[in-house]
Symmetry: C3
Subunit: 416 residues, 3 copies
Amino acid sequence: MEDLLTQTNYALDTFYFLVMGALVMFMAPGFAMLEAGLVRSKNTAEILLKNVALFGIACIMYLVCGYYIMYVGAVEGGVIPDLGFWIGAENTVEDTLASGGDTYYSARSDYFFQVVFVATAMSIVSGAVAERMKLWAFLGFAVVMTGLIYPLQGMWTWGGGWIAEAGYSDFAGSGIVHMCGAAAALAGVLLLGPRKGKYNANGTVNAIPGANLPLATLGMFILWFGWFGFNGGSELKTSNIIEANAVAQVFVNTNIAACGGVVAALLTARMLFGKADLTMALNGALAGLVAITADPLSPIAQYAMLIGAAGGVLVVFSIVTLDKLRIDDPVGAISVHGVVGIWGIVAVVFNNADATIGGQLIGILGIFGWVFGASLIVWTILKFTMGIRVSEEEEYEGVDIAECGLEAYPEFVNAN
Amino acid sequence: MEDLLTQTNYALDTFYFLVMGALVMFMAPGFAMLEAGLVRSKNTAEILLKNVALFGIACIMYLVCGYYIMYVGAVEGGVIPDLGFWIGAENTVEDTLASGGDTYYSARSDYFFQVVFVATAMSIVSGAVAERMKLWAFLGFAVVMTGLIYPLQGMWTWGGGWIAEAGYSDFAGSGIVHMCGAAAALAGVLLLGPRKGKYNANGTVNAIPGANLPLATLGMFILWFGWFGFNGGSELKTSNIIEANAVAQVFVNTNIAACGGVVAALLTARMLFGKADLTMALNGALAGLVAITADPLSPIAQYAMLIGAAGGVLVVFSIVTLDKLRIDDPVGAISVHGVVGIWGIVAVVFNNADATIGGQLIGILGIFGWVFGASLIVWTILKFTMGIRVSEEEEYEGVDIAECGLEAYPEFVNAN
Amino acid sequence: MEDLLTQTNYALDTFYFLVMGALVMFMAPGFAMLEAGLVRSKNTAEILLKNVALFGIACIMYLVCGYYIMYVGAVEGGVIPDLGFWIGAENTVEDTLASGGDTYYSARSDYFFQVVFVATAMSIVSGAVAERMKLWAFLGFAVVMTGLIYPLQGMWTWGGGWIAEAGYSDFAGSGIVHMCGAAAALAGVLLLGPRKGKYNANGTVNAIPGANLPLATLGMFILWFGWFGFNGGSELKTSNIIEANAVAQVFVNTNIAACGGVVAALLTARMLFGKADLTMALNGALAGLVAITADPLSPIAQYAMLIGAAGGVLVVFSIVTLDKLRIDDPVGAISVHGVVGIWGIVAVVFNNADATIGGQLIGILGIFGWVFGASLIVWTILKFTMGIRVSEEEEYEGVDIAECGLEAYPEFVNAN
């Protein structure tokens, strides 16, 4: 009888994990629509293709070696990865029942949940390098990022490696997923340079408006929806009262942090620019979500709202600042996921007594250092082999024709 | 052992509630896309922003005081609200196990589920006042609506107050959510007046077509999908055979009522207008969903289909009639949620022996009277302080530039 | 106590089934957006309406008689259907507990899960006949398809009829749903003929680009997301370790097969056409999904990836070949669901020892023969009564105005 109940709980936890994972997978169209809405129409088909292809590449690379590096071969306190293949064996009934509760969900559901996180990290990159990066160079980077760069820092943290040992606390990945993606993106953007026409010689900045804001809004809402899986699933278990309450708290905090981010970014933009800027409201929501991701469990809802609101304020100033620094990020990905990701990591210490500012800083430096450094090397190799930037003419004409041989909206567009 | 099973059931019911709540949250982009698709392109960014911002405001206000008014401080049979803050404490393991089954899901999951309903009610308003209402006046109204107007009638009904005592029966909120939103919208529309160019002096009506019908269709389908959470979650429990069967019945009836609405509205429009009007089919689906929401549990599927079909017929005639009355509702929200909402409330008595026509009428009058009256006062105050209508020039140019400082589709549009 | 746990498991399995079913229902907007994105703007509103209306019709017809034919009245090994109405009774608590585990989820949840499959099959048809088929003829076909043609072959297979007896193995419906839809589509396309201007007298083919590729990409991703329900729910049970592991395996394989399809189709298109064709990548993902649907449980993930990849290669060649044969399928539905569906059915024998190539061929021939033949008869009757093709002038002007009396994008379009 007790074994039967153990089986039921295993099934419930596995089902919960799979549903949460499916929600995270759904973040893929969230990123795709957000980015497609925020670029110009002439570069839309290519960014869509990048988002579709990177998801395919991410899941394949994580199956082939990434999951092995991050979890299967991970060693407590380890630094150097154990290189190997495939995702290990499924739990047997016997072993599960004999585990005394240590094994409580399907090993396959764990791979499924983890793999959609990898794709999320990689999706962050595509937005920042939009409108000027070569398609195949980007996909080449995706192979290394999802097969090695992401998994290695994942092994250092969630895999129990040296950053975890140093006390770093990151519930669902403000650093491990979001800042990680932003660090890779930043390295690419620095090597790639800004889009033609973005920055003037006299220091002013030209706004390059996105072609389709309903799409961008849809993308933001899909991401919000998917984030319930992203954070909610990261509790990893739900089959008793304590765990169920924890998952509920995570849902509440995730939602209210996004709300705080929306309202704060909207008011900040209103004060700075005099208008209620829709794109800032969208980035505010995402900033709220990124900020709470490092710890959506410990704060009460009121504090979660404030953590999200701080993220919403921060993202507006960060976007303005990056433009002053001539770091051209068409969708604001580096600000949303990187700058606000760091805020989220730091904010853990306010509500979670187990976290220390030292441990958090080690995590930030360790993850950022590795991902930024390794990405810089990979982007540089790509730059000097196949090239990473499209030609000036291709950039002017739009990368859709050059790379994909078709247009996203062949009947609609009047002008470039 | 029994306590362990109680824990599992608590976890299952909480998880069910959270998944259903996430589906309802996803109705936010449903409303956003529906409304963005049905307005003109020059007013699209602003309606998107309204939808994003109202969701943020709704969740914050409901956290701050709305949930308290509606549930925490609610008194059996009460009329006057207990004003207070925050959402109360989470259930402890001890109290839950000692409750003998009375406590069977996380208190946090209850807030999460309820809060997304508030946002739904508020989303209904944005569509009806589209293309001419000032952004900040709208957001100001959202603060009062989600912090007080909605929660008070919610306390009167689901909170156990005087309308509940009078025998009013409304399973998932045909009245408490949908007619409530429509009543607030109607008050706003009456004060606001129709869009310029909608009605001619000679009594004829100009169709103002929506700019993006794929978006509107997507929005409708997202709402349909989210409605499984809206109605399915309103059973509140699923962890035994009777409850599981009930949730399944609710899913079946919700789906088939929408289908009845689609087909009935399509045929009605074909007969009235000679064409298969897509927007009427969309409104027919939503009408079917609104109609069944007051009782998706009691009818067999065949009757649910008929209740939805009647909603689908009704919505077409209602939209035509409102236009004759010069009540300008760009997306048909008052017809879909208000007129059909009333039909749904009344239809409960056909299948649910516990409902009486008297109780249902008390509910309709009580909810409508309060929400319409209170909203009229708030809209009036807003009108005479900050103003609720944009200038004629702003309306002509489109509210996107005036309010948001950007365009939704900067590269696409030929003409206003 | 054991009865209580049985109740919990029943609730879990029913909830799992309902969630999976809701995901499948969400495939409806997936198909709608995919098809709306791949047709020209002048035919967009009509294809949206077809997708909305067919869903309504499918659910109603399946309620009225389809579910009865397929399951309620099905006889082991049967060929001739038992004609009858409605969907039978819900399980009682007593019968369920007395069933010794044979009854383990709500009968209503079974109808709900099955009905969304019917709509999926019908959705496949609308894409293939797009841009030239009369709306009401299409809807007339939908009535027969969802009320009789689909249910009868469903009774022969999942209902336990003669094809099941012959050993045919099709886990989630590569044949029963996807090839079935494609067979009905093919019959319609052959009678309908190609769109004007698609094929030149000299044998060359004109590309007719879709008007809105972000929509098409969104549609693909929604379908991918919904497919977790489609395949994941087809395990039918999840409440113990073995079943939970099985569902997890299905999720993993479904996802990785889609990834294999994306990458393979992208590389194939790159080699054949010299460009990274977005529409081929989208079709590659769907091909991977269709290919794995016949058995997403037996293969290890690596093989699932290869099965999907083979589907991705196949779909590119199939689309090119059908164009050479002048079979005009605007969205590639016959290739994706028909040709790759057959591949998926055959591929079952590689990993599932219970399947035989003979059994699979009987399934292919039985399903295809019946659905293609019956559809051909119905389309022919429609052709000679109400006509199935719009006039040349309507086709030139676009079917939106002719059939729906409105335009999908009234403000955007420059040219036809």
